[in-house]
Amino acid sequence: MADHTPPPPPLETVRAGLTVALGLYLVGLLLCVAGNSASGGSALVRTIHGKLFSPWMTPAWLDLGYDTRLTHAAPEDGDHWFEIRRLDAPAAETIVLPGPTFRGERAARWRRLARATAVNEADPDRESLLPAAVGAGAFVPWNSHDLSLAVMRHLPPDRGDVLVGQADVVGRDEEAYAARVRLVDGEVQLIEATAPVELAPLVKDPAP
């Protein structure tokens, strides 16, 4: 027997389509949050999110974890900045970025760039990429092809240490990353500064 069910009105069809699209987007949003967490996502979430959702959510800047932790009191949560010095002109002053006149979001972007430079040195896929690029980008504005590039960071003091007088409320600064960046025969060379390593004393061969 013929089915006499009337065709759905156009509005219902549009709503059905929108319902599917919205449902798909909400699943994508949740997988992006789960897959972009600083704790790392599971292989299953990474695979589904990476293959089905990243291709269309990344271009719209929506493939994000939104995990704004503000602080965990870790060293990488401190303020970061660059210190760039010309090695071919030792008398030239050190340039600090963001500079003292930089304000608001402009200064925040420089701090993010400095932090990314230091933090990503621990990532094997991104190691050395930013220091070399930042150093090379500094050649023209600072009119030099031999620079010292350092990322400094501010370590706030522990409140308890300030209260007992063991620390100053200002905190202290430390070098998070340092390298020499130079241009030799058209190629950018990055020579990372290595921290002094404690060596074991030589053991002398006891005399027979």
Binding site: R15, L18, T19, L22, L26, L29, L30, V33, S37, A38, S54, P55, W56, T58, P59, A60, W61, L62, D63, G65, Y66, D67, T68, R69, L70, T71, H72, A73, A74, D77, D79, W81, F102, G104, E105, R106, A107, A108, R109, W110, R111, R112, L113, A116, R126, L129, L130, A133, V134, A136, G137, A138, F139, P141, H154, P156, R159, L163, V169, V170
Partner: protein, 304 residues
């Protein structure tokens, strides 16, 4: 023989869920909340856009720090930016000024159906040109701009509306497009607050009540120095830290019940900027307050 009877509870539950879904996404909504989001979110986006101006060539110029080679190794293979093809300072500045004008036009509601999607594309394309420069305020602003592009954001508080009124056109009424945009704003407001609180609670300092100290003691990025007050009173420090977490949880959950929404939305409009100031991310706080504005009940009508 009697046919087996289906339990009545399941279809009833499915109907309830279906009705709630349809009501949430498809009940036509008036234009005012989304128009306010467009105006305030546009101002935040313009401020974020402007922050690139001083260092545009230092970062993205032909000999800039963020070179195409760096981006090729850094970015997701799905990411791309229209600024990638701006290989000369002139092209870079032209694209930057054009994008800024688009965002300004969107903010004042000029040719909104065109400037809203183009403004969102311009904003996200600039973020993709330097992803390591982007911060949490950029992430929230991108969400706002896409939601504004989906709804009819120029139906009120806009140059478009003024021109329409001058030509004798009736004021636009409630639409489903605007409802979908406002629904997406509410979903994102809740998800962003929930994701932030989950990320924070992975750190001990948010449990032992000292997180606000570590925010206040960052000498460069802080906007107000509260270290003196926090040194004087540990309870005050604990209170501020726990209040931030409690507020974020309340906000994420309270948006979903009409009774609590009346409280958490005004609270969010006030509290998010304060959290942003304490965290040294004022535009992030403002952007989240704009999302809260988008969660205002749609029956709130402007007298204008």
């Amino acid at each position: 023989m009697n046919a087996p009877r289906r339990p009545a509870a399941l279809p009833a539950l499915a109907d309830t869920i279906g009705d709630t879904w349809m009501r949430f996404w498809f009940t036509p909504a008036g234009p005012w909340p989304l128009a306010l989001v467009r105006l305030l979110g546009g101002l935040v986006a313009v401020a974020l856009w402007t922050s690139y101006a001083w260092d545009l060539e230092t970062w993205f110029g032909p000999a800039g720090m963020i070179s195409p080679e760096l981006l090729a190794a850094w970015r997701s293979p799905f990411a791309a930016s229209l600024f990638d093809v701006a290989t000369s300072p002139t092209a870079l500045w032209l694209g930057y000024i054009a994008g800024g004008l688009l965002l300004l036009s969107l903010t004042i509601g000029l040719a909104t159906p065109v400037t809203a999607p183009l403004g969102a594309v311009a904003f996200t394309t600039l973020l993709h040109r330097g992803p390591m420069l982007a911060g949490p305020a950029d992430d929230v602003a991108a969400v706002i701009l896409w939601c504004v592009a989906i709804g009819r954001a120029g139906d009120a508080l806009s140059v478009d509306r003024l021109v329409g009124a001058w030509r004798g056109r009736a004021a636009p009424g409630a639409t489903q497009r605007t409802r979908i945009a406002l629904g997406l704003i509410r979903v994102h407001a809740a998800v962003i607050a929930a994701a932030a609180v989950l990320a924070q609670l992975k750190g001990d300092v948010w449990w032992n009540g000292t997180a606000a100290w570590w925010l206040a003691a960052r000498a460069d990025s802080r906007l107000v120095d509260l270290t003196g007050a926090f040194l004087a009173s540990e309870y005050l420090l604990n209170l501020v830290t726990h209040a931030i977490v409690a507020f974020e949880i309340l906000f994420a959950a309270g948006l979903w019940f009409p009774v609590t929404r009346r409280v958490v939305v005004p609270l969010g409009i006030v509290a998010w900027p304060l959290v942003g100031v304490l965290a040294g991310e004022p535009l992030w706080g403002l952007a989240l307050a704009v999302l809260a504005v988008g969660c205002l009940p749609t029956r709130v009508q402007s007298p204008v």
